[in-house]
């Protein structure tokens, strides 16, 4: 099997279990969007134009509250700020690609495509055709998101919201991130970010998430520095 195809298939394989968690999430979005007053076309198209789960949820919510357009746009921007961190974090691995590929992979860069890809790249390092992993993960998630949205839009109000299917999403993140909690600075970064997120939860527009991420990164770096200073002594 060629390197290209191997990476593509590895990406698909890593994404597969995540798709199972994301599928109900897409259905819930689709149902919520039409119930909050969006047309079926708009509800469906948002999944390809914005293509960002939590931002789409918040937008649907704001539509039902009758929020003004600029508030919705600002909210989408702030809720999606974390993607700049993903962009920076993947940048070294995508550095030598053509502009076309950078555009395509950026469009496909969601939480759920980023998570398995960065873990794979950090483990396997940089090599030719490695970007096909991200492409495989991203494109399968994209298809899955469009189909699950369509089913949610179609079923609309008949999806019961007390089924707790949305819990599958945090579970996929647990499944991805817990196994890499090996070194002390990494654990400290996660714990401090989690605590900050709790304390800052009431901040509007999910700003608490960004603050928490920055605190976690800072704590991780400080501990790493202290450890390497100890080793030198």
């Amino acid at each position: 099997m060629s390197e290209l195809r191997r990476n593509f298939i590895e990406g698909l394989r890593a994404e597969l279990p995540i798709l199972i968690g994301v599928f109900p999430f897409g259905m819930i979005y689709g149902a919520l969007a039409v119930n909050s007053g969006l047309s079926t076309t708009a509800a469906q198209m948002m999944s390809s134009i914005v293509f960002a789960g939590s931002a789409q949820f918040v937008t649907a919510q704001l539509v039902s509250e009758g929020a003004p357009a600029f508030v919705m746009i600002l909210t989408i921007a702030v809720v999606n700020l974390r993607h700049m961190l993903y962009s920076a974090s993947l940048a070294p691995y995508l550095k030598d690609l053509s502009l076309k590929w950078k555009v395509l992979l950026s469009y496909l860069l969601t939480d759920e495509a980023y998570a398995p890809s960065i873990l794979y790249y950090e483990k396997e390092g940089l090599a030719k055709y490695k970007y096909w992993f991200l492409f495989g993960a991203g494109i399968s998630l994209w298809l899955n998101w469009q189909v699950s949205t369509a089913i949610g839009v179609f079923l609309g109000a008949s999806i019961p919201d007390d089924l707790s299917l949305d819990f599958a999403l945090p579970l996929t993140f647990i499944a991805m991130i817990v196994p890499v909690m090996k070194k002390q600075p990494v654990i400290a970064a996660a714990v401090s970010a989690g605590l900050t997120a709790l304390l800052a939860y009431s901040l509007p527009y999910k700003l608490g998430l960004i603050l928490a991420a920055l605190v976690g990164i800072l704590v991780g770096m400080l501990l790493e520095q202290r450890e390497s200073a100890k080793e030198k002594q």
Binding site: M46, A91, I118, A168, P170, P185, G220
Partner: protein, 106 residues
């Protein structure tokens, strides 16, 4: 809601812009070493910041009681993830635990 198409296109463009920004920029310039080290902590920090409130808050208030079924199912999922290192298995165990706890009426 006629503005919604404007909101979607503007929101989509901004989202794409943020996803593209540093992938593009760091193709032109080198990433500073400090930043490279900082970025290593993005996944644990961001995902933990998403997970922890999902488990510990119910109806926007801290809930550390046994009645918090998401917390119990989440802890079981964390243990499962640590030992099995299997994504699908972890999701299935977590969902099964949540359904079971809710069915038991906890």
């Amino acid at each position: 809601m006629k503005d919604i198409w404007f909101v979607m296109f503007a929101g989509g463009l901004i989202t794409f812009g943020m996803r593209f920004s540093l992938i593009y920029l760091f193709g032109k310039f080198d990433i500073p070493e400090t930043m490279r080290r900082a970025l290593h902590y993005v996944p644990p920090a961001v995902f933990s910041a998403i997970i922890i409130p999902e488990l510990l808050l119910s109806n926007d208030a801290l809930d550390l009681s046994f009645a918090n079924t998401r917390l119990l199912a989440g802890i079981l999922a964390i243990v499962t993830a640590w030992y099995s290192r299997n994504t699908l298995f972890t999701i299935l165990v977590g969902m099964a635990a949540l359904f079971l706890l809710q069915w038991l009426g906890l």
